[in-house]
Amino acid sequence: MKKLLLLLLFVAVAFCGFSQQSQTQKILKKNSISKFYTCSLDKMLDTLALDYHLNIVFERDSLQKMDVVEHFFNDRLQDALSKVCSEFGLHYWIEANGIIYILQNTDDLARLKKTNKGDNMASGGIKPVLLPDPVEPPRHFMFSISGRVVDQGTGEPLPSASISIRNTHLTTITRNDGNFILFNIPSDTCVVEITNSGYQPEKIRLDAKKINEPLVIEMFTALNTLNEVTITGKKSGVMNTDTKKVGVLELNPASLDKLPNIGEKDILRAFQLMPGVAATNESSSGAYVRGGTPDQNLVVFDGFTIYQVDHLYGFFSAFNSNAVKDVQLYKGGFSSQFGGRLSSVTEINGKDGNKNEASYGVDLSLLSVNAFAEIPVNNQSTLVLAFRRSYQGPLYNKIFDQFNTSTVQGGGGPGGGGGPGGPEQTTPASHFYDADLHYNYRIDQNNVLTWSLYNGEDETNNSRALQIPSFLTSSVNSINITDYTKYGNLGSSVKWFKKWSKNVYSNTYITYSSFFNDRNRSTAGTTDDSNGDPVSFESGIVEKNSLNDVGVKSDWNWEMNNKMKFAYGGFLTRQGTNYNYVQNDTSTLVNERENAFSGGGYAELLIDPTDKLHLQPGVRETWFGPTSKLYTEPRFSASYLLNDHFTLKAATGQFYQFMNQVTQEDILNGNRNFWLLSNNTNIPVGMARHYMGGVSYETDQFLIDVEGYYKTLSGLTEYTLRQTNAFPGSIATLTQDFYNGTGYAKGIEVLLQKKLGNYTGWISYTLGQAEDKFAVFGNNYFPADQDVRHEFKTINMYHYYRWNFSAVWLFSTGHPYTAPLTTYTISTLDGNATTAYTVSGKNELRLPDYHRLDLSATYDLLKISGNKIGSIGISLFNVYNHTNVWYKEYQIQNNAAIATNVDYLGFTPNLTLSLRWK
């Protein structure tokens, strides 16, 4: 009987191939136990192992001292195991090979695995078959295999998993959708090895049957990821560099809670801890990459462009990390698949969702509540929903005030927006929210439809009814002040993935993205005229800016062989911008509507002539309607493996940008950003050329990565909007000035990363320079606003059992600014005096150095079975409360100029609680 069982088990194992874990789980769930134990725990586990044919590994020395006195009556085996584990503060963990480990601490797993030899393994257990021997001699040679790698628990595809054929140089990495293809497999008895960070390695023996259909490889999560790093493939850290490519950063959103956060786990803020991405712009979560500005960074979310990446004056980014699978930042020299921006690309991919069972989660912090659900709708489709909303607690108000406070005393707004009388003290209502929806429908093996929807909005509302003074109540009926600012995004895409053959597949998108930024500051009400009849009035300013972007695009990949891949595609976009400035309900001061059709295509070869050399030439062509011109962007990148540790890499290319984000300065109400399309007159098409190169040295433990870059820029636009005559006369004029110029940026980045062990982290140093030349400011180059010479960042993470501690220290030399040097006064024709400044050269001075320390501690909440169900964290921002200057403000009082510093956020603590349910 026993032999039969063993045989059955063996057959089951052989058929499942790599699902011994499920087998063990099944045993634990299906069997019930009715027994009375009065013995030491190790003896009890020995009995269980023997009775149920389980492999249980534990430290006999420790468990010997634990005495069990338990009576089980018809209890599930799993419950019994949980009960005794919880009694002694232990966890059990089932590995992919079906072995159950009994752990006192989660970090014990690696040690137990190493010492897993005969005497401490429970007797009576069967040895699981890890890798079957070939059943017959090889019959097929030099063929290709393809397949998908997915998470065993959720069914979610795993990108960047490494696939290799044992004892050969054949290796590849899964794409974003988890698919892979490998050519020239020597024989059908080869072993495929699969590794991925955060997962237990898998091995599969090929056979004649398997090679004929796509392999679906299910990977099991690892208990902790500390010892799972491999050089090839994806790294396990929260933030990694792709050492094989120049200027590529990868973020693992699932590990974001290991970094300090101020209110929100923020994917864009996390990138700012890496070299080449400036970390000191607290008022913008957009990426300042290698001397570029946030509007030169393309942000693509599931195929559609996001135009506004900020929440709450830029303190938070607009993306909910719970809905994001992975993020890549290309710091320059990027592939011809991307275009339309001068500096960099941030590519964000939404989660596909849990295919096997519904899971839910909620994150609570002092700032926001964030809930998500992953629901398997049916066998073919999954749904991910995520929603986040801030609440106006003390932390929100602190940040809001920081970015909304000004020492300039404002009366009524220009054009009579404010109410009569002295300044009023009111607290505006303010909040932000965002929502994500991701629906994945797998029509069949070769066709997948994905619908993705993103919506986010910030709103500040200070609208109110004015208290009418008693002496006016006879003639004035009501006065209502409307005062709100709203901005946000709505974006959506439908993606059709089609696998045309084993080695040709395409992703076709229909995309929509819109951005709006509206402000309404107006007063309305009714009064009685001399006859006692009510007369209504309305005055104030209504500003509206919107952008719509509708497009189709199709990306194709043709994997010809192991040495050559061909990527190509086409796109068609219609963009429309609208900027409207209406005063007093009647006079439209600005009304600009622009539309642009653009279209084009790209092609790229990915060539690996040898194991060591990778070449990637490409070209992108864009026809831009407003200028009726064709823009050609050649691109090239290459890498060369000198040996196992050293990689040389380089990239170059030409880049065009067809729209600009311009900033309207407004100190009293916060700056406003909006987008304008390039044209043939005042806003030229921007152009950049990148030259980048680097070398990386990598071992299992350490990574040293040094990269240098030089960029030239032309067709830059600066914008000012000036309102004149606003006071006291009622007819105002707006003057829009567009200044055009050129620029360059250069720098060196150094990264030293410790990847493995209880202590991980990195040191990042960037030496950079970014200068512009605008004719309006003179004939010389001046430091660009975002120019920072030295930036030093050290990120330290320490893992101690269920605790994760981190310390982040940032130092950067000051941003440039322009200062008044002297004043002088001129009398105008009406006899009034105006005081003007003689100012320093443009951006000639530097603000004080920026530095701050952030600390955090996170405690993992675990189930008895070792699965993480959440965490509790505390974050401290700017621990030593250093005063970092944002900008300086000047005002004339009594003919003298008074300078005031406007500072960034001081010491701010935050608490977070994350919970997950399945």
Binding site: G411, P728, S730, P820, L821, T838, S840, N894
Partner: protein
């Protein structure tokens, strides 16, 4: 494989070299513009010439004008004749003969100060024509009275076929100011408005902050004056500061010519 042994060392060395090379450059602000003289000169046909020259002030100086620059030799040329101004009071240089200024001529101011050859040039515009007002006065109400604040209550107009620059200057002739409403806060009794090259300007309830008799002066002005008027020179933050535009070479301020026509207007 010597290099393999010292990757960190090499990187650090590179780093140190980079930092040292860069640290040698120091941010120093040397701006000679702070020594430039401040010139204020308005040439009006039929009026004596007066040009004030002062020094710029340090930021904390609470005096209205900077220290007067005395003892300069100021010349103004109209292309054929050159006159020299005399210093009537400290830093104020005058020339009494008003016939020197005529329409269409180009006037060039020149003087030397420290090592600077200071100069400025302006053209005398033509006198405004057909300056009229629809009414000789208008009635405005208290705060939010019977009028819609935006209703046009009066229009002043003039001939301007070439869309030239004009400003309207309002001088309140009453010694005592009677505020029309509290909404204007510290608005001055005298004020000026840019007409944006139009040929008419409407008056509304909000045009006037004070009751009283006004002298309404229509000035034909040059672009340099409009530039001064519309400049954002009192820009308030380190990210948007700029110099006030000036037509003075090696100096700051304004030297400009203009002609005016005047009306009387009553606000009650």
């Amino acid at each position: 494989m010597e290099i393999k042994k010292h990757p960190i060392k090499n990187t650090l060395l590179l780093l140190i070299v980079a930092i040292v090379l860069n640290a040698c450059k120091k941010d120093v602000t040397t701006n000679a513009n702070t020594n430039l003289p401040v010139v204020q000169g308005y040439l009006v046909v039929g009026k004596p010439i007066s040009v004030r020259v002062t020094m710029q002030k340090v930021l904390t100086d609470t005096a209205v004008y900077g220290t007067a620059i005395k003892g300069l030799k100021l010349n103004i040329s109209d292309g054929s004749n050159t006159i020299q101004l005399t210093e009537s009071s400290a830093g104020t240089y005058t020339y009494a003969d008003s016939t020197f200024l005529t329409t269409g001529k180009t006037y060039t101011l020149k003087f030397n100060y420290l090592s600077y050859a200071v100069s400025a040039q302006t053209i005398m515009p033509a006198k405004p024509v057909n300056f009229t007002t629809q009414h000789t006065g208008m009635t405005i109400d208290d705060l939010l009275g019977n009028n819609n604040p935006l209703d046009t209550l009066n229009v002043v107009s003039w001939a301007n076929p070439d869309s030239l620059n004009h400003v309207l200057v309002f001088n309140n002739l009453d010694g005592i100011s009677f505020p029309a409403s509290t909404r204007f806060g510290n608005a001055t009794t005298n004020f000026e408005l840019n007409t944006s090259r139009a040929a008419a300007y409407p008056f509304t309830q909000r045009t006037f902050a004070y009751y009283g008799h006004y002298q309404v002066i229509l000035c034909a002005v040059n672009q340099e004056y409009i530039n001064l008027l519309t400049s954002n020179a009192s820009g308030s933050t380190s990210s948007n500061l700029s110099n006030q535009p000036t037509n003075v070479v090696n100096g700051v301020g304004i030297f400009t010519a203009m002609q005016a026509d005047t009306l009387q207007f009553l606000v009650q």
